[in-house]
């Protein structure tokens, strides 16, 4: 038997969902009895049948991948409830098994999969989607790339209104329908202290978490998920900030980004200069700006190209 054939067959069995009692299924992938399937490839020994030996790997696989998702998405777990969350994860992983060498990326397709399979979010679709987006942004912000921040001498060069700023890749911008940032922080805080509390206190925390989810009312928020001193923070921002940062990220010039940010703004025209100044000052202090990529730097207006040619 070819190595590839054997590995494909064993992997199918290892990645096949477990039964409700977390045992290996009696039916094999593609039909037939799993005991026959296992015996085709695996030797029994004096203590374990082929089925039982294969089952060790089957159970370990699900323990590992379900544990990784539970660790990465505690907020979604709180929204959906523990049992439903686990069932949802099994369905997700069955359709979207890991395609990365690292478990860090296991939840990369969860948001898009939930959008295609909304029944897994029960009657909390908007809340669940907000939460999964926030938790994935949390992961991306934690270990995303940090480019050298913009220096003061870089800023001195940037006098032209046609110039652009880039945002640090680790800064994640979210428009959300629920204030899930507070909920996620509450959930994480509960987990952090769980080891040091009695069972009774843990039960109370669990009930209070459920109440917090049940009471959460929709309220549109704009969020920048970023990191400072290597810790991730959720920073609420104004709608104009969100639009401005998004426009800068998309490569718009500072001038156009500001115009875009205030298109539908209720901020009085007289207050906008101070608003922008305060925002830029804050973001610069937080180190969110870096030099734009070359592709943006090269995407200049015809007038600027003319100037460049004249210099040559």
């Amino acid at each position: 038997m070819k190595l590839a054939t054997l590995q494909r067959a064993v992997a199918r069995a290892v990645m096949q969902p477990l039964t409700r009692s977390e045992r290996m299924k009696r039916s094999a992938p593609g039909g037939g009895r799993m005991s026959t399937y296992a015996a085709r490839y695996i030797k029994p020994n004096d203590r374990l049948t082929s089925f039982e030996r294969l089952e060790i790997y089957n159970r370990q696989y699900w323990l590992r991948v379900l544990g990784a998702l539970a660790e990465d998405f505690p907020g979604l777990r709180a929204v959906l409830g523990g049992q439903w969350f686990e069932s949802m994860c099994k369905a997700y992983l069955t359709e979207c098994p890991s395609r990365s060498f690292t478990l860090r990326n296991l939840g990369a397709r969860l948001e898009s999969w939930l959008r295609q399979n909304p029944s897994w979010m029960r009657d909390r679709q908007a809340l669940a989607l907000d939460m999964v987006r926030l938790e994935w942004a949390d992961i991306e912000a934690f270990d995303g790339q940090a480019k050298p921040p913009l220096r003061s001498e870089d800023l001195r060069e940037m006098q032209s209104p046609q110039l652009r700023l880039a945002l640090q890749p680790y800064v994640q911008l979210l428009e959300l329908r629920y204030p899930v940032d507070d909920l996620l922080l509450a959930v994480k805080h509960g987990e952090d202290t769980a080891d040091f509390t009695s069972n009774a206190i843990q039960e109370r925390k669990k009930r209070s978490k459920v109440r917090a989810v049940a009471k959460l009312e929709p309220a549109q928020i704009f969020l920048a998920v970023h990191r400072l001193d290597f810790s991730v923070y959720f920073r609420r921002i104004e709608p104009e900030d969100f639009a401005l940062l998004g426009a800068l990220r998309s490569g718009k010039t500072i001038e156009r980004a500001i115009e875009f940010a205030f298109r539908k703004s209720a901020v009085p025209a007289a207050d906008r200069a101070a608003f922008v100044q305060h925002s830029f000052q804050t973001w610069a202090t937080l180190g969110w700006f870096c030099r734009p990529e070359e592709k943006h730097a090269r995407r200049e207006s015809p007038r600027e190209k003319g100037i460049a040619r004249n210099h040559e």
Binding site: Q7, I42, L48, R53, L54, Q60, G144
Partner: protein
């Protein structure tokens, strides 16, 4: 003998695995540790705290990279994106040698994130050796393959596990990371004499040794890295270093991780055996 081309002609002594619960202790107390082993995949990222911690560790300690998902034994060739990221990390750590497991775990681009046992066939040895060579040539660093704990054996196997390990090592001219705990676990699960295994490994290829604890169940033993090293495993370790000499040794403790001091104390028990082995020769 312990300094060989498979570990970059180094003699590193006793190390422990770098784990996040110990970061604060290591960075604030700066304990004397011969070297740290890192899990490569934890640092194959674009930025953030893990790399910041790693850079601080690298300023003060020697570091060796150990991987868990290269899957030398997969029928398909190594993933290029994986190799590219791994090479970036190799440049950062300047690891004198790099280790990963003699196992498989991915098929058609889908990952199980487990260390699945090999069928011990000549075809598998040939393909595995091809993959080891490709990784070594790409990374330009010596490679040592680690024997895994296993819970299943395949009907198609044509040789013992240690014969398979030797076959791969010879064909690819790679080093061996000899995990004596894994040998013990597999010997209990498959009913072989673990000393036959240790005695059959080419001592001149041993780049590093792993020691660890495990969990015993009613019908099998699971490699859990959540306990101290048991005496039978220390006996295998003693035999391994009688043959290979004063080899770089690392204690793995990955679950229910105790204090840094406790892990370090457990690792340093290896000194009891290393003291008399500076002139060891293979027998």
């Amino acid at each position: 003998m312990p300094e060989n081309k498979f570990n970059g002609f180094t003699n590193y002594g006793i190390g422990i695995g770098l784990r996040s619960p110990h970061y604060d202790h290591i960075l604030s107390r700066k304990p004397v540790v011969d070297w740290f082993e890192i899990i490569s995949e934890n640092f194959m990222i674009d930025g953030g705290r893990p790399l910041h911690i790693l850079d601080q560790i690298l300023e003060q300690y020697k570091v060796v990279q150990h991987g868990v998902s290269m899957y030398f034994g997969s029928a398909e060739k190594p993933n290029r994106e994986h190799l590219r990221r791994l090479k970036e990390l190799v440049k950062r750590t300047k690891t004198p040698w790099l280790t990963d497991h003699l196992c498989w775990g991915s098929v058609d681009g889908r990952y199980t994130h487990d260390l699945l046992p090999m069928p011990y066939t000549f075809e598998a040895a040939r393909l595995t050796a091809r993959n080891v060579r490709e990784v070594r040539d790409f990374l330009e660093v010596p490679i040592a393959v680690e024997n895994v704990s296993s819970y299943a054996e395949f009907h198609v196997s044509e040789m013992t596990e240690w014969e398979f390990l030797n076959e791969v090592a010879e064909r690819s001219d790679c080093g061996i990371l000899l995990d004596v705990n894994n040998i013990y676990v597999s010997s209990q699960n498959h009913s072989f004499n673990p000393f036959d295994y240790v005695n059959s490994v080419p001592a001149e290829r041993v780049a590093q040794i792993h020691i660890a604890g495990h969990s015993k169940f009613q019908k099998y033993i699971l490699d859990t890295h959540d306990h101290p090293v048991i005496d039978p495993v220390w006996k295998l370790y003693e035999r391994a270093i009688q043959r290979a000499g004063h080899t770089a040794t690392l204690l793995e403790w990955d679950d229910s991780i105790p204090s840094f001091q406790e892990v370090h104390r457990e690792a340093k028990k290896a000194n009891r055996f290393l003291a008399d082995t500076s002139l060891a020769v293979a027998v």
